[in-house]
Symmetry: C2
Subunit: 411 residues, 2 copies
């Protein structure tokens, strides 16, 4: 099971009344019908529906995923972490950069594509734009509107929005993002599950792993540790320590950091409050950001994730004369990773930095599921403690308004 330890000289004595109130508010939030992410792991209907769609389209050669923000970061993370063990080629269209899109579209044969359009609202401008381009590509190949249902799958709100309407018009198979789940909490819905199935990932095991930790996070000893962790983060926030580094020691979890960045930034950053997430990954960032983390301002909490056992390994045996080669010759690559992890952890602590040591037994479906639910729940708990609403994002509306204005002025 995922576990964690605070490695810092900073200790907290929560004011018990405040603490109880926060725990109460948190548990109330999780049991509210408006909030759905916490109960997702038990919801096997969604995965069953997703599997049906997968079965229908599994002969496809390319999986083109159109989505941005929470509609992309979750699936990208699952594929990086757990790998693509199938023969299907993936293309993620997660931006509106024409040069980037051009490079990506050069790789596919549109006639062999499944195009998965993901948008909760069904009106996201970037997603609508990319979809229009793909429609034009299909049309240019002589494919008619009545056959679009063989190329598209949508993933959107069960009732509302333009994608839902279009799905009825075209007869396109459409998966639900339940109404009570926002984009950044949606990875365990069909948003993430369908691409996972196409990549040969045991999607059901992700849900099972998440379910394993789910109950523990609201009661039992683990729950107590969890509340203490959230309270400790909040207490450091009050003392001006307002940056949160997420640093797995794994290249394959680099995208977990990117996913976490949205979750943490968008949920907590409002009303001039918030904790700023900093993505990193080890050992690589020891040669980039670590100087700052080690000796810069003491304004960060560092969450280091250790993967206890890698699935593959490489002996470093060699007969070269140089000291650096000799020094490594009796080890395996995973031991060097372990040494660097331990070395950095010790040095950070010695330098008076605030570290959380997270550990998963290996990079397998169930533990990725646990990492996901853990981060989501931690975000909500810290939100309750900071007294911000972790589920809204009012700050992105103004930019959209001005963008629309620009378009109107350039019609």
């Amino acid at each position: 099971m995922l576990n964690w330890n605070i490695r810092s000289s900073h200790k907290v004595q929560p004011d018990s009344k405040f603490f109880e109130e926060a725990v109460g508010a948190y548990q109330k939030t999780l049991s509210s019908p408006e909030i759905g992410f916490f109960r997702l792991p038990e919801n096997r209907e969604l995965i069953n529906e997703t599997k049906k769609v997968f079965e229908h389209f599994k002969h496809k050669k390319y999986f083109v995923h159109i989505g941005i923000g929470g509609s992309a970061l979750g699936p990208e993370m699952l594929l990086s972490a757990l790998g693509n063990g199938s023969g299907v080629e993936f293309v993620f269209i997660n931006n509106i950069d024409p040069d980037d899109l051009c490079r990506k579209l050069e790789k596919i044969n549109i006639k062999e594509c499944l195009i998965y359009v993901v948008s909760k609202s069904g009106t996201t401008a970037e997603t609508v734009a990319a979809m229009s381009i793909l429609i034009n590509m299909l049309t240019d190949c002589g494919i008619k509107e009545e056959d679009f249902k063989e190329y598209f799958v949508f993933c959107t709100d069960p009732v509302k929005g333009e994608l839902r309407k279009l799905s009825q018009e075209w007869g396109v198979k459409t998966l639900d993002i339940p109404s009570n789940i926002g984009g950044r909490f949606s990875v365990l819905t069909p948003v993430g599950l369908l691409p996972a199935l196409f990549a040969g990932i045991a999607a059901a095991d992700i849900l099972e792993g998440a379910e394993d930790i789910q109950k523990h996070l609201i009661d039992s000893k683990i729950g107590q540790d969890f509340f203490n962790l959230a309270f400790w983060i909040k207490d450091l926030h009050d003392k001006g320590i307002r940056q949160t580094v997420m640093m797995p020691y794994s290249s394959l979890l680099k995208d977990y950091s990117a996913w976490f960045v949205q979750l943490w930034a968008e949920s907590l950053g409002k009303e001039e409050k918030g904790l700023t997430p900093i993505p990193a990954y080890g050992a690589t960032d020891q040669h980039s950001q670590m100087q700052l983390f080690m000796e810069g301002p003491k304004d960060k909490v560092l969450m280091l994730i250790e993967v206890e056992k890698f699935q593959r390994d490489f002996p470093l045996k060699n007969n070269l004369k140089g000291e650096s080669f000799k020094n490594l010759s009796s080890f395996c690559l995973s031991q060097l990773m372990k040494a660097e992890f331990e070395g950095t952890l010790t040095a950070l602590q010695e330098n008076g930095r605030h570290v959380v040591h997270l550990k998963i037994p290996s990079l397998q479906e169930e533990y990725v599921g646990q990492l996901i639910l853990f981060a989501e729940c931690l975000t909500v708990m810290v939100g309750e403690l900071l007294k911000v609403d972790p589920f809204n994002q009012p700050g992105v509306e103004a930019g959209k308004k001005y963008a629309n204005q620009w378009l109107k002025n350039h019609q």
Copy 2:
């Protein structure tokens, strides 16, 4: 030419004495023989040497790049920004994650590889480890040590270190990282130039672009603007605004942000001082980090990079009924990008955020060269203003020491 504008209500009146001193120190630094990066664009010897090596090995099918930190981030950035227009396949080994390495090595045929080992010191543990693994792969294929010179090219200090020694022993072609250039300032040396040539990038044009801006950054009107920008950043730092967001509106410049992160973090983060870089890219991060940037604490300077003209474009013409589709139907994709850029810039300013609007005419070699030299010089100038040495990285030694200890204890 690259240009920039401060878009913020915060104005500075530099104390003229302090300002003059800082400019003087900066110019002295750049003309010091110990500091080489600033004069790199004029140094055509390095590129000529690099071209010779490229000519010798250009028949290779795979380019395996082994390096970490500054030995990897620069070349990765060049390839993302400018594309791989050649038939050569690239593999970057920039970490010691066994599972990740396994995925990467599965893609190559070792007999058709050029293995480019990049390490200034020639003793970087991660690089030595990866190199040992590749040596074992060659040996397992029956390739003898006397033939290694047909598979390896090294890039290291001109005199010192184990790679240099090994290059003599094996007769391996070896390119120089000049002694007066540190890893994070090395992208315009063979570190970045050799992979660029293999990718079909006009490497000489990158240098020419950098040379175009070089002189301007120490005198003329542009130089004055530049010093003012650095001073403005320093002044905001003194007022507690100590995070620097780098946000190009381009997927292809996402890795420019990653490269900038090392430059900024490792150069400025020391003695409990420093500015924390935050990587981002638009429009994608409008759906992730923008909520925090817009409404979180006012502790950030945001550098937004606009690419004025994309090289490709896509019409968004469609005949769908939904409002969101109709709204876009008369535009091209690049116009939507422009609209979102302008919309976000306006909203950020309106929200009292501190923005720098950088602009390049297009994503071509010369402008990438300008972006590189601009960021390097800005880093040094801000370092002078903060009175830190931007060229050292003392804070990573302790971690290395403890890592070595761990290895000794587990011999």
